[in-house]
């Protein structure tokens, strides 16, 4: 569809043909083009969708089993197993940022000009050709009509100015002029968010850890220690968890400097590091004796342990806090009646030379002997651990600044609708011919209605 252009339209810079077509100009024009931006957005939308259809960052074995060796290899080399962090996806985001920046720079002068009161008059024949144009013959002298219109426009919160050239005078009026910066601000905000994300990804720290009550941990490049003093789960009457609480202490040189109970949605913040309540579970301790030696191990997750010097492997399969044989059917073998440790058991699987030999639910502190009497193992205790996410994201201020700017930009874009108009006057006997031309940018329809109402007010 052909487009009518007028002085205050957002003009797209097209590669200029008359100037020397240097490489730099061509590259600049390429990035300034909105077409490139739109293609980038569409490609990004497609690639982003692909990343949700192909499960990301799964086990490579899973891919070969699901897609077959050949296809999985192709997907791997295309970066489709980790789309959002693959070089080409980050590259696309980089190109988009460049596009947004170049576009913003290109548009800056034009936008600033649009917010200023023009220095010169428009030619009178330009007015009827504008997006919204009206002529009306109104009884009254030029002076009288001009002041009346000026007053009416001011009452509608327009900024008005009289433009003069020789003896010709033209009335200029505009409203909502800062709205023109809306899209520019929105575009810059996207660049800020992407930069913040990149910076945080490169320089930030993130880790998740399971820590037993009473244990401490440190974080690289910091001088403090974190100790988990306590972990509790608050249950509802039906034993669904209501909230999880971990009490953490920060220690600097052995001295406690901060202590806080964290919960989901309520992290502890210390020196830019944030500690989030994230998950929880049970630690199961086990002792094994074989060939006269005793070893011990703590399981935080289901895991395998080879008893040293033997072919026996114990898998700690599950910790059952409140074992109830009544509800342990074939399918819910490891079901727990409540999450409270009222009747703790450990489900284990015993392997000999890689083959499963036995699977049982064991009581605590009851030694279990392997069938060949070679080894004895005992589950000696259990403790609840808390799962913490530790994050430090130096890009966060940039991201938040971007979020705020984006809201400001969109508000300006969609709710502050800029409109400007020029009004020329020509005396005709005892009347004045009023010619009005203007542009309401995104909302010419609303602008037109406003002009219509204005003309009616003059006549009344």
């Amino acid at each position: 569809m052909p487009k009518k252009t007028s002085p205050s339209d957002p003009v797209e810079t097209s590669p200029s043909t008359q100037t020397s077509s240097g490489l730099w100009e061509e590259v600049w024009a390429f990035f300034a083009s909105m077409k490139v931006g739109l293609v980038l957005l569409l490609v990004l939308a497609f690639a982003t969708g692909l990343g949700t259809i192909i499960p990301q960052n799964a086990n490579y074995e899973w891919y070969t089993q699901t897609y077959g060796q050949g296809f999985a290899t192709i997907l791997y080399y295309l970066g489709l197993l980790n789309v959002y962090h693959s070089p080409w996806y980050v590259g696309l985001l980089g190109l988009l940022s460049l596009n947004l920046l170049v576009c913003s720079i290109n548009r800056w002068n034009g936008l600033v000009r649009e917010t200023r009161i023009p220095a010169e008059l428009l030619s009178e024949d330009a007015l009827p050709r504008m997006k919204v144009a009206r002529t009306a013959k109104i009884r009254g002298s030029e002076e009288e009509i001009r002041e009346k219109i000026r007053g009416l426009l001011r009452r509608r919160h327009y900024r008005t100015a009289m433009l003069e050239k020789g003896t010709t005078r033209m009335l200029y009026a505009d409203k909502g002029r800062f709205g023109v910066f809306g899209s520019l601000i929105t575009h810059i905000s996207i660049v800020l968010i992407l930069l913040g994300g990149l910076y945080g990804g490169l320089r930030g720290y993130r880790n998740s850890m399971a820590v037993n009550e009473g244990d401490s941990f440190t974080i690289p490049r910091t001088n403090f220690q974190v100790r988990v003093d306590d972990f509790t789960v608050k249950y509802r009457p039906d034993f669904r968890p209501q909230q999880y609480y971990s009490t953490l202490s920060i220690l600097e040189n052995g001295r406690e400097t901060k202590r806080q109970t964290i919960y989901v949605n309520g992290p502890l913040v210390y020196q830019g590091y944030k500690f989030y309540q994230s998950f929880y579970g049970w630690t199961v301790d086990m002792q094994a004796t074989a060939n006269g030696g005793t070893t011990s191990i703590s399981f935080k997750n289901p895991d395998y342990y080879q008893i040293p010097g033997t072919g026996w492997v114990v898998k700690m399969h599950a910790f059952i806090p409140d074992y109830d044989p009544q509800i342990s059917t074939m399918y819910t073998r490891y079901a727990s009646r409540t999450p409270l440790p009222n009747n703790p058991r450990v489900a284990y699987i015993l392997y000999q030379n890689g083959a499963p030999v036995d699977a049982q639910v064991a009581e605590l502190n009851k030694p279990i002997t392997t069938p060949d009497q070679q080894a004895i193992f005992t589950f000696t205790g259990y403790r609840e651990y808390t799962g913490l996410q530790v994050r430090q994201d130096p890009g966060l201020p940039l991201v938040y600044a971007g979020c705020i700017l984006m809201i400001v930009g969109l508000f300006l874009s969609f709710y502050i609708l800029p409109r400007r108009m020029w009004v020329a006057f020509k005396p005709q006997g005892d009347s004045t011919l009023v010619t009005l031309g203007g542009n309401g940018r995104k909302n010419n329809l609303g602008f037109e209605a406003e002009v219509e109402a204005l003309l009616q007010d003059i006549n009344s």
Binding site: M1, P2, K3, P10, E12, M34, K35, G37, L38, L41, L42, L44, A45, T48, G49, G51, T52, I53, P55, Q56, Y84, G197, R206, R236, R240, P241, Q242, Q243, Y244, Y263, V264, N265, P267, K274, Y276, Q277, S278, F279, Q389, V390, R391, D393, L396, V399, C403, M406, I407, L410, F411, S413, F414, Y415, K442, L445
Partner: protein, 282 residues
């Protein structure tokens, strides 16, 4: 309390159903009376629906935004709200025959979903959730209305080409108007869609320390945002209006539906790890 909620839910369902029927009658026979009834029935349905949602909020002790039933119902509520606003603003009631069926289908879907009141899992206990979902209801409501308008556009545009005096051409408003209305509705939806994503990110940052984790739901909301961003830009700069615009709006709403239903029912199996990690604490 539950009985009251069901009762008013039925009022809402019946209201939307009958409103849809009335709008169809208006479309078919140009009966002004039917059009008026459509508006009244939709409004009565909306009031009933509001009472049902408020009752549920009181019963459950939290805003009704946390499971499929609650959100689907709220989604239908948002569509009807934006629709009635659009009807007033654009002074056209034929739209009802294309938008109210969407609200009716959604409340129908809601009616067969499990309605148990679930206590909030810890991650959802945040006021950001309330802001997040409120903005989503408005954004999705607006996109649904734009979707109806775009379908009308496509029909009207074809109708005028194929048979300028036929049924479609005499019943539907002129295509240019439909195009403009759909643009204005999307202009309402887009800033809210942006807020949906931003508030979601802030909430995730507060709850898990990660404002963006590429989980399928947030990823699809971003895709939706991309599509409507292209719609808005192409329109202003290239004058992509009319047909192409209507198809973009159509596509955008499919992305909205996929974000809500597709992600939950089609992708969750693949991404069960992420979902377990984020949502299944218990």
């Amino acid at each position: 309390m539950f009985a009251y909620e069901s009762m008013f839910f039925v009022v809402a369902f019946a209201g939307y159903l009958l409103a849809t029927a009335a709008y169809f009658v208006y479309l078919a026979f140009k009966s002004e009376f039917a059009a008026k009834m459509g508006t009244i029935l939709a409004a009565v349905g909306l009031v009933g629906h509001t009472v049902a949602l408020v009752t549920r909020t009181v019963t459950a002790g939290h805003v009704p935004f946390t499971n499929m039933y609650e959100f689907t119902s709220s989604f239908a509520w948002g569509i009807t709200l934006v629709y009635l606003g659009a009807e007033r603003m654009f002074k056209n009631k034929v739209m009802g025959a294309f938008v109210m069926p969407v609200a009716m289908i959604l409340i129908g879907v809601a009616s067969v979903l499990p309605k148990d009141v679930e206590p909030l899992v810890p991650a959802l206990q945040s006021y950001w959730l309330q802001i997040h979902v409120t903005t989503a209801i408005i954004a999705y409501g607006a996109f649904a209305v734009a979707f109806g308008l775009s379908i009308m556009y496509l029909l009207a545009e074809r109708g005028r080409r194929v048979n300028p005096t036929g049924f479609v051409s005499t019943r539907l408003p002129e295509p240019a108007k439909l195009d403009l209305w759909s643009y204005r509705t999307i202009s309402l939806g887009f800033p809210f869609m942006t807020l949906v994503i931003l508030t979601g990110a802030i909430w995730a940052e507060k709850a898990w320390g990660q404002y963006w984790s590429w989980d399928p739901k947030e990823t699809w909301s971003l895709i939706t945002w991309f599509i409507y961003a292209v719609y808005l830009h192409a329109r202003i700069t290239y004058g992509w209006q009319g047909k192409r615009s209507a198809w973009m709006s159509f596509l955008g709403f499919l992305a909205v539906l996929f974000t809500y239903f597709g992600v939950n029912y089609l992708l969750s199996g693949l991404h069960s790890y992420a979902f377990n990690f984020l949502f299944n604490w218990a």
